[in-house]
Amino acid sequence: MTAVISPKKEKFIIPIGPQHPALKEPGHFEFAVDGEIVTEATVRLGYVHRGIEKGAEARNWTQNLYLVERICGICSHIHALTYALGVEVLAEVEVPPRAQAIRVLVAELERIHSHLLWFGVAAHEAGFDTLFMYSWRDRETIMDILEALTGNRVNYSANVLGGVKFDISDEQRKVILDGLDFLEKRTHHYLDVATSDGMFLQRTRGIGITRLQDAQRLGIVGPTARASGVMRDVRVDAPYAAYDMFPINIVVETAGDLEARFVVRLKELFESFRLVREILDNLPPGDLQAKRFPRRIKPGEVISRVEAPRGEVFYYIRSNGSDMPERVKVRTPTLCNMASVLSLAVGHHLADMPMLLVGIDPCFSCNDRGVSICSSQGEHGRWTWERLRQFGIDYYANKV
């Protein structure tokens, strides 16, 4: 770790990232510290900004399904699902209920894998590597299930426009149920550890408290918000796919500290186990795909919202009647939650920073999209929409 002293303000600034042992993904943070206490925090994002939204405009509807799936490797199914749901509304295609149920099934399996992944990484940041290894070992169970179902461990590409690619056989059903039984046992154990292990609690209990009002003011989403008592979950507020057939119960905690975030996520696992079992027992009969999906989609626009493991994913899709979208706008949960890290950082120990950061379960590859930031230092570095657009036009004109 290097440290820089800025002579003017006599502040001691510790830059972290983009490559840093405490960060699994590139992001750049600067913490001004007074002794051990952080007095100011800034973040610079965008190291993994690839220009996917613009890229989506140059690919056709089906190709985009594979592109948006690769916005994030952890919640890949969620992105493809949100996109597919939106495009299906635009194209006015009815998706068979069996396909919707399988989509939800994969989404919940993905939530299990994502939460276990997060749990391990968070334990690692707390210095509890044993727990990290255990939870990742158990996570392999769910990876095996996903692989058996879809053929890939990550980026399952379970969706097609108008349905899903695979059915669930009886053998698979049994494998899934066995796996879930094992994981359920383990999750009880983890919940026990996260709420009773003294050393662990020292890193989580009472740290990074986000009050309900703050959570609402900062627009925090997902489990992070639910740990502060915000009753917000797209699966309940606006059920999509098969969530009206298979409702879930919101898990909320009110403490708002890191411990509550652990508890919310772990308890959500039980919800997911229950839901997956319920779906397997009551899988509606029928086709897997809609009969026909148009290549060109008539003009229109649509908003599609889905609850990803980290919170609400939001897609805006506009069609102009061609076989490519005119605009795809994505908003991912990490971006909403990032503000909470910066506001929480002030007043905490520097050593708590990794924990605060993983507390929101950040995912930088989702996160690094074009945002317009109103900098407090005026116009510095700010691009207007016109300037950005002109840049894009020039760029592509010069390229060809």
Binding site: H20, Y47, L67, C72, W136, V154, N155
Partner: protein
């Protein structure tokens, strides 16, 4: 080490020792220069109990200055290009680069996106490629083992660095 004024014999022994250490315990550093995370979680999974790359002596650690192997994932974005190059330059010689994933090899699905400069070996020289989207942990281990075997047999893959001039031209051509 060459400036220690050792006799040829001692130099030879020292080289052997270093090679032995390098092959038996390569320390790796991981940098995500624009990947979707898929490859990164598989790299992490490679280190966890099911696959446990540490039994081969591979250890993931934080500082480029301690690393022998740079594991890169993802296409190179405009913002992370200089970082990637800097990390590469901070690593002590000899150093090896493993490009993991289709994106790192060819840009993958992100080809043509405006902020993507290209694949890894357009920026730094790469010694081993592991294809897949994402590659399975077994494949990543296989890639590492192939690299180590090549080192053991004494023919380290050619690592030709781009010259300063090439880098400058490269900058001028892409920005």
């Amino acid at each position: 080490m060459t400036n220690l004024n050792l006799s040829d014999e001692w130099n030879g022994i020292l080289l052997k020792l270093k090679k032995w250490a390098r092959i038996n315990s390569p320390w790796a550093i991981h940098y995500n220069s624009g990947s979707c995370n898929g490859c990164d979680i598989e790299i992490l999974a490679t280190l966890t109990p099911r696959y446990d790359a540490e039994r081969l002596g591979v250890k993931l650690q934080g500082s480029p200055r301690h690393a022998d192997v740079l594991i890169c994932t993802g296409p190179v974005t405009l913002q992370s290009r200089d970082r990637l190059r800097r990390i590469y330059e901070q690593m002590p010689d000899p150093k090896f680069v493993v490009a993991v994933g289709s994106c790192a090899i060819s840009g993958g699905v992100f080809q043509g996106c405006y902020n993507v400069v290209g694949h890894i070996d357009e920026v730094i020289p790469v010694d081993a490629y592991v294809p897949g989207c994402p590659p399975r942990p077994e494949a990543i281990i296989d890639g590492l083992v192939k690299l180590l075997t090549a080192l053991k047999q004494g023919d380290p893959p050619p690592t030709e660095r781009p010259t300063e001039l090439e880098l400058e031209n490269y900058d001028a051509a892409t920005i």
